[in-house]
């Protein structure tokens, strides 16, 4: 199945494990430099500079370090990791091995969401083959003292575990409740040891970065968002699927690419993202504009956006871990108010309440879930005023 996809970076051609061989040749500090100079940022959605993360872990003093690949893809509308793990698993694992070499880790974990359990046999096969080929195990590719292996741990159905500290809690055998930061996983991660946690897509780009160089990587994308992004497109269009686009691509271009007609709105970033109206289709996918983990859901003129907002809020109500009050208590209130809007019973005061509650949730929630749970609703209320009518107070 590999090679059938085309794209500037991740879907471009590369010899398997050539990036790892190059890494061993140029040495740790050069690998760290390449990754830092490429300005690659985390592909999971938060966009933290990967080079900084790796450097922090590399310089942390501990004789035990971990590399974790976050494959707990759960954002509604996202399925790029399903494609990467199904078709490009070697590339992902190679990225993890390069990372381990660069930061000095000897243990890797792929945290695979429980929903993707059907990928397990094939992934295990790939890992076994890598062990046979001395791409994992002891003295990898005859590099003395470079020992590293990867094991797979399955999630058990919790969206919030995609948050890195919550993922660590889950790995340690606890409820997946996010931790306070700092300390950051780069020095206090899994079992208290320095840990790099990156998204599947970030690891998939690493071999390309090392082999083809930071300058090549930066030739794609914008000044502030270098490289490319995998987007998962779904909803009202003729060609849904996973595409690789350079950062800076406009929504308009994406809509044309997937053959979407009669589009009313595009939800960028999944349930925790923003709903964009037609007048903003010239905006682009980039960290400095529309930042996303890759979820693009298209709605045509027939769709009721209040239903969309309600679906997202119900999702967050179900997936909130319940640990902090603004998130746990705020979401049900938003749902209640939204129902009032749908029944044309909401007054101007209700709308004001929604905005002020959303602000509180953004400021006071502990993790990204609560901080972004209201974003879709707020963007719909702001950009699609025609979708609702208020009651005469």
């Amino acid at each position: 199945m590999e090679k059938s996809r085309k794209g500037p970076i991740i879907f471009s051609t590369i010899k398997p494990f050539a990036g790892l061989k190059e890494s061993l040749k140029i040495g740790r500090s050069e690998v760290l430099d390449q990754v830092r100079n490429s300005n690659i940022r985390g592909r999971g959605g938060a966009g933290f500079p990967t080079g900084v993360k790796w450097n922090l872990t590399a310089t942390a003093t501990d004789n035990k370090k971990y590399v974790i690949c976050n494959a707990d893809e759960g954002e509604p509308g996202t399925f790029k990791d399903r494609v990467l793990l199904g078709e490009y698993a070697k590339l992902v694992f190679e990225g993890m091995v390069i990372c381990a070499f660069a930061v000095g880790a000897d243990e890797g974990i792929l945290y695979l969401r429980g929903e993707y359990i059907s990928f397990l046999p094939e992934l295990d096969k790939t890992l076994n083959q890598m062990r046979k080929d001395n791409l994992l195990g002891e003295n990898i590719l005859s590099k003395k003292g470079f020992n590293f292996d990867i094991k797979i741990r399955l999630g058990v159905g919790a969206y919030v575990c995609g948050e890195e500290t919550s993922l660590i809690e889950s790995l340690e055998g606890h409820r997946g409740e996010p931790r306070n930061k700092p300390p950051f996983p780069t020095n206090t991660g899994f079992n208290g040891h320095p840990t790099v946690i990156n998204n599947v897509e970030t690891f998939a780009a690493i071999a390309h970065v090392v082999l083809k160089g930071a300058t090549w990587f930066k030739s794609f994308g914008t000044d502030k968002s270098s490289g490319s992004k995998l987007i998962s497109v779904s909803g009202d269009c003729r060609k849904p699927g996973v595409y690789e686009i350079p950062f800076g691509t406009t929504l308009k271009k994406v809509l044309k690419m997937v053959d979407a007609k009669d589009t009313k709105a595009v939800q960028v970033g999944g349930a925790s993202g923003t709903c964009v109206s037609k007048k903003d289709f010239k905006r682009m996918i980039a960290f400095e504009d529309l930042s996303t983990g890759g979820s693009i859901i298209i709605f045509n003129q027939k769709r009721n956006l209040l239903d969309v907002a309600e679906n997202f809020l119900n999702f967050f109500a179900e997936e909130s871990c319940g640990q902090c009050t603004p998130c746990r208590e705020g979401i049900p209130v938003l749902i209640e108010k939204l129902k009032k809007i749908k029944n044309i019973k909401a007054t101007k005061g209700d709308i004001e309440d929604i905005f002020s509650l959303a602000e509180t949730m953004q400021l006071a929630s502990k993790c990204g879930l609560g901080q972004t749970a209201s974003d879709a609703l707020i963007s719909i209320l702001n950009s699609f005023k025609k979708e609702y009518t208020l009651a005469k107070s």
Binding site: G74, P76, T78, F79, Y116, V156, G173, V233
Partner: protein, 159 residues
């Protein structure tokens, strides 16, 4: 709290054996997954046994079991159908699919057939939005569901 057992242990209730090697707290979820897979739920007794072997309080195990949606304290069917309730599934007609499942199985969403063979549930996005409506059936991702496909699936599971 994280008392470590240095000796591998086998937990048994006469029917099922679960071996915990290097029983650390971090093994808790993999062990619970195995029990869930084998028995269809995690009983009070099992929770106490697991807690004992890890040197933690049973309530800690209970708190973990009840946190994750794939771990349950109620017995589920041998086969579990989890329909995605993602917005894209909704848009692609998931309601009709759910209705067909309900009709074919004779149960409502969230219930298990009387013979404890099949459970019908909904779940958050399963990463199949390009093939909506979709479901996770016994761990397998099934997309582009149609009423006819549903009928075939139920027939197959009932066998």
């Amino acid at each position: 709290m994280d008392k470590l057992c240095s000796v591998p242990k086998t937990i048994t209730d006469g029917k099922t054996n679960v071996t915990i090697c290097d029983a650390k707290r971090s093994q808790l979820i993999p062990v619970l997954r195995k029990i869930q897979e084998k028995e269809g739920y995690i009983s009070n007794r099992k929770m106490q046994e697991v807690a004992f072997s890890l040197g933690i309080h049973p309530v800690e195990v209970y708190s973990v079991v009840t946190f994750y949606s794939f771990l349950t304290i109620e017995k589920k069917g041998k086969h579990i159908i989890r329909i995605s309730n993602c917005i894209t599934a909704d848009m692609a007609g998931a309601k009709k699919i759910i209705k067909t499942f309900e009709k074919e199985l004779g149960i409502k969403l969230g219930e298990t057939t009387k013979d404890k063979k099949i459970s019908l549930e909904e779940t958050s996005c399963i990463g199949m939005c390009d093939q909506s409506p979709a479901a996770l059936i016994d761990g397998k991702l099934v997309g582009k569901l149609t009423p006819q496909k549903v009928k075939n699936i139920v027939k197959e599971l009932k066998k």
